[in-house]
């Protein structure tokens, strides 16, 4: 390829790629920006108005003279129009705009000009309001104040942690033991059972929800941490066993044999040798499961249900969408709080996560 052709093709590749990346970023960026804007700004203007843009800006506010006939055509600043036209705004020949604000009797007239401007009133109040579980006061545009209840997302955050950590530790631990058993121990039915695990990899978990929920109700396990830990563990295990088996079965055999000669038991070998050697595989699966459980909505919805004290972030957020779907200043802040931890984990440990995906991520 000639250097010039190479240069243009490089420009084309990077240009298209850049455009796609921009499209991919804008939704999240809009959310992040909105979550820091004040209530009035979010509800009245688009988030993109934080960038310089041309807009009608009021430069002067005047009292209309009392003898003006407000029911007929009026002349203000050289333009003649009716009251309702002035309410909409009338453009003068010199490019300004005259707008009547308020009612006929006591209203004011604003003279506006198109100017470059930005709306940049940023605040942390949205975050304060959604995080707290207490009541707080809101003042709307008209100056009326009213009381709203916070959404207690800080409580939901703690619940999400309490649900997620064991839901990651359990399957990793149990699957590591099982993977070692399948890889290095001989017992009847070993191949058949492992084949069943492979078959269960893609089973949709919907199939399990109803029977398990029935048992949970009978055992009083629904709405408890233990119940949801076990459910996530059960649903996550086939993939965990499969991934860890693939790793552990390829570890060199002679390490184990020399350990046996030294008189170590399987249990000791597992704890002292296999676990430290398998850290990359364990980490890959742990991150995968962490993101899965933290972002899960269905399993939490079914097994936690309406138990208010245990609700996780995704459930609280979905509830806010349902109950106050137009309070965008709160919704955006809430959504960002729920994204904070998974995004951090994701960017910090992306390498492990990708490795886990590569190893085959067909989960039910």
């Amino acid at each position: 390829m000639s250097p010039k052709k190479k240069w243009t093709s490089g420009l084309l590749v990077n240009g298209v790629l850049g455009l796609i990346c921009l499209v991919w970023l804008i939704p999240t960026f809009g959310l992040l920006v909105s979550s820091f804007r004040t209530r009035e700004d979010v509800l009245k203007t688009g988030w993109w108005t934080i960038f310089p843009h041309r807009e009608w800006v009021t430069i002067e506010s005047i009292e209309p003279s009392a003898d003006l006939d407000r029911n007929g055509p009026m002349t203000i600043l050289g333009v003649t129009a009716t009251f309702s036209e002035f309410r909409e705004g009338v453009t003068t020949p010199d490019g300004r705009r005259v707008v009547w604000i308020g009612n006929k009797r006591l209203g004011k007239v604003q003279i506006q000009e198109r100017r470059w401007t930005t709306t940049t009133h940023f605040t942390l109040k949205n975050y304060q309001n959604v995080l707290t579980g207490k009541e707080y006061e809101v003042v709307d545009e008209a100056g009326n104040s009213f009381i709203e209840k916070g959404d207690d997302l800080s409580g939901a955050f703690i619940n999400s942690m309490a649900v997620t950590i064991p839901s990651v530790v359990f399957p990793v631990t149990i699957a590591a033991f099982a993977a070692y058993g399948f890889a290095w121990l001989r017992f009847p039915g070993r191949k058949q059972i492992f084949t069943a695990v492979v078959a269960l990899l893609v089973v949709p978990l919907q199939i399990a929800l109803i029977p398990v929920l029935r048992d949970y109700v009978g055992l009083n396990l629904n709405g408890t941490y233990l119940g949801i830990w076990l459910a996530h563990t059960g649903f996550g295990l086939p993939l965990a066993i499969y991934l860890l088996y693939n790793f552990i079965s390829t570890l060199p055999k002679d390490i184990l044999e020399s350990a046996f000669v030294d008189g170590a038991s399987h249990f000791t070998i597992f704890i002292r040798l296999i676990v430290p050697l398998s850290v990359p595989a364990l980490a890959s699966y742990a991150i995968f499961q962490f993101l899965w459980v933290w972002n899960d909505y269905l399993v939490a919805l079914i097994f936690i249900g309406s138990q208010p004290g245990v609700q996780v972030l995704t459930m609280r957020l979905a509830e806010i969408i349902g109950s106050r779907g137009n309070d965008w200043h709160l919704l955006t802040a809430g959504a960002f709080i729920s994204m904070l931890l998974p995004l951090t984990v994701f960017f910090a440990l992306q390498r492990y996560f990708v490795r886990g995906l590569m190893a085959g991520s067909v989960k039910g």
């Binding site: 804008i26 703690i158 949709p204 059960g234 249990f267």
Partner: protein, 373 residues
Amino acid sequence: MNNPMDLTDVNRTSPSRWITQNLGRLLLALAVLVMVFYALWQGFIFLRNTDAPRMVVALMAVLWGGGGICLLYLVLNKLVEQLPAAWAHQAQPYVFVAPAILLVAYFLAVPTIRTLIASLMNRDGSTFVGLHNYLTVFTDKAMLMTFRNNLLWIIFGASLTVILGLLIATLADRSRFEALAKSIIFMPMAISLVASGVIWKFIYAVREVSDPQIGLLNAVIIALGGQPQAWIAQLQPWNNLFLILILIWMQTGYAMVLFSAAIKGIPDEIMEAARVDGANEAQVFFQITIPSIMGTLIAVSTTVVIFTLKIFDVVIVMTGGQYGTEVIATQFYNQYFVYRNFGLGSTLAILLLIAVVPVMIYNLREFNKREVF
């Protein structure tokens, strides 16, 4: 407690003599196991009923769970080590695999059969109705719309995800900004579908024609001289496409990462040789890249199709299944939790299972081919 001396000693004595000698130790180990179980159960009851601050409860629950599971394995192993060597040798594998097998059996294998039985019963599971639920599913108008929607999701969602993933992977492979671009496209994978719902609901937001639009899409439409639309409520069935966009936004990163790795695996010489022979970039892509990554292409496509088939969160958060957007998974949820029709709900779950059976068979075939056992 258990040193090599013990083991040789045991091997020489007969089992009956061994039992009389070691029964005490065995019983003690068994008693410890029972005690551990009891203590953990008491801990559970305490955690469930306590009024302590949530932070404290959550922390204790995490410790209880993590510590409990380690303790169980430890005690179970000690118990097995008390057995005669021959028995211990036989029992040991089960210490390793039994907890996993029991959990998988209880949470996935057995429920499949239970759901299958429930799908043959009436709405409260009291009488056997044969295939009646299946008949309903395939004739009811609302159900047929559900299937149509799932089809839309798979046709548009899955295929666009795969195509875009492949396109971006190919572009990124030739760009200096590969790592950055991949991170940006991949990022939505870390976000929950519920939060994505908020992000996109905000983009699709619509207000009165006279008010300024705060939703990005409508603002763009107005800037282009159009009228604001209620994207996810009107224009049925095309409103489904606006929900499908969310899935594409989330899943493309997954497809891209796997394709990118596969593309890097193609030897450079083959590509270069083709270019030297005068092949243009399109020919290289279709005649070398695509055939070389066929395996990955199939694997990614199946994974994306399965994920799309089970889509739930997006629809339930965005519309709750209203405006003709119901899909199988939301219909399943609504049948079970809203209409309390357990039979029909179970039937829908079985249909999801049937849909993935071909993939299951394919997986098993591949697994048997590898002959790792």
